[in-house]
């Protein structure tokens, strides 16, 4: 069964400011959606609404044709959300952090798999070091390692390129592209210029314009 996240008529107000109004969105397999807009235009708020974290908005969210309220658990099992704060415990090692996230999705996972993922993101040799001793970029990479470790079709990424070096950015772009090609979908915000990522759709907040790249 193919998945689809639909939003109909999303309207959100914050502090008497209307961030967006009557926003319609559709995200399905193989799609990459980039949310753009100046600082404070509501990108993070939109991502939080789309990942089911904020409920004080008007409009409806549907997952696979069902209202979000009813299928919340099923939706969460398919979602991987990375926010501004990476959600990584500084006192734990990278491996311990990843193990907890695997367990939260109900998998035992195994150590070899976690080590392989850490090697892939360039943290080989740092797996037993408390994350607090790693640099900001390395901490970010630990959070991003979850992308490869847990199978989730829908990725919602808020500024995933923050604090990552050039090489890491290229690798992450490849990772996003591979995910879309494999039939997953990505919703992301970034101020970074992305390399062409297959079919990239854009939404620009702050001026209520929605267009499709390449048209």
């Amino acid at each position: 069964m193919a998945f689809r996240l639909e939003a109909r008529g999303l309207t959100c107000e914050r502090d008497d400011r209307r961030l967006f109004q009557a926003l319609d969105l559709d995200v399905g397999p193989g799609e990459v959606l980039r949310v753009e807009g100046p600082n404070g235009s509501g990108k993070t708020t939109l991502l939080k609404i789309l990942s089911g974290q904020l409920t004080d908005h008007e409009g409806e969210l549907r997952w696979c044709g069902q209202p979000m309220r009813k299928v919340r658990t099923a939706f969460l099992a398919n979602l991987l959300y990375l926010g501004h704060s990476p959600g990584i415990k500084a006192a734990l090692t990278a491996v311990e952090n990843l193990a907890w996230y695997q367990a939260l999705s109900g998998e035992h996972g195994d150590e070899a798999e976690r080590l392989a993922v850490l090697e892939e993101i360039g943290l080989y040799g740092f797996e037993d070091v408390p994350v607090a001793q790693l640099s900001a970029g390395q901490q970010r990479r630990v959070a991003l390692a979850r992308l490869s470790l847990t199978q989730r079709p829908l990725w919602v990424l808020d500024e995933p390129f923050t604090a990552i070096d050039k090489q890491g950015v290229a690798r992450l772009e490849q990772r996003l592209l591979a995910h879309a090609r494999a039939g997953g979908s990505v919703i992301l915000t970034t101020h970074h210029e992305l390399a062409p990522l297959g079919e990239l759709r854009r939404i620009t907040l702050g001026q209520a314009v929605c267009n499709r790249s390449g048209e």
Binding site: G52, A77, P86, A91, L92, R152, P153
Partner: protein
């Protein structure tokens, strides 16, 4: 890519959360030791401030020990969800496909294991200092172990409600302390009754009933409070 069905593997998630929180607290030992030191210091102040007369101290000891243990629990509550909130892992906890009440219950369990239980085990030692009669030590420790579990559960509701506030400490106390009163009455009462030569069983039974009630209701209240805090 296929839609993933949620895996009903709650046991794995709960075990991992308990293990993770234990590791975290044990790596920052001060979090375990601070409430114990606070407890000992407060109890030391009373003989100095009131009178070193053993008879007088013995009369007020059950209440003193219970109030001091209650405040020590209260002190440690603010950190229960705070660091998770700050580094974003609370957000991720709420986004996990597992039932949130079970996950917060395991976090609260760790709080009790590393705060309430050590306090209960240490209390007889401090009772000695207050000239508490010997026959009441077992009941003191047992009533504190039972009661502090209720305190952890009730306090966690307050901690969850105030986690989004930058200075939630005082508000947390104002919210939670009134709710501690029933536990305090029956906890201190149990010890008092033993000293007077009575039977503490009814008091302990009521403490147990309070714990059952807290176990049934608090996890849902904590989960709801966390959702409100994150939404704000």
């Amino acid at each position: 890519m296929q839609v993933i069905e949620p895996k009903a593997e709650l046991g794995i998630a709960v075990r991992a959360t308990i293990k993770r929180d234990m590791t975290l607290v044990l790596r920052r030992r001060s979090e375990v030791i601070n409430p114990l030191v606070f407890f000992a210091l407060v109890i030391t102040l009373f003989p100095l401030g009131i009178s070193p007369d053993p008879q007088m101290l013995a009369a007020i000891a059950p209440g003193l020990l219970w109030v001091a243990a209650l405040l020590a629990t209260q002190l440690s509550l603010d950190t229960l969800f705070r660091s998770d909130y700050d580094d974003g892992s609370l957000e991720q906890l709420l986004l996990s496909p597992q039932p949130l009440p079970a996950l917060v219950l395991s976090k609260t369990l760790v709080h009790w294991l590393l705060t309430g239980l050590p306090l209960a085990l240490m209390a007889p030692l401090l009772g000695l200092m207050l000239a508490l009669p010997g026959q009441s030590y077992a009941v003191l420790a047992f009533s504190l172990a039972l009661g502090s579990a209720s305190l952890s559960l009730i306090g966690a509701i307050g901690a969850a409600l105030t986690v989004g506030l930058s200075r939630g400490g005082v508000l947390l106390s104002l919210l939670v302390l009134p709710l501690y009163i029933p536990v305090l009455i029956f906890g201190a009462g149990a010890v008092q009754v033993v000293i007077l030569g009575g039977n503490a069983a009814p008091y302990l039974a009521i403490l147990g009933a309070q714990l059952c009630l807290a176990l049934m209701l608090a996890p849902w209240a904590i989960a709801a409070a966390l959702r409100i805090s994150i939404n704000g």
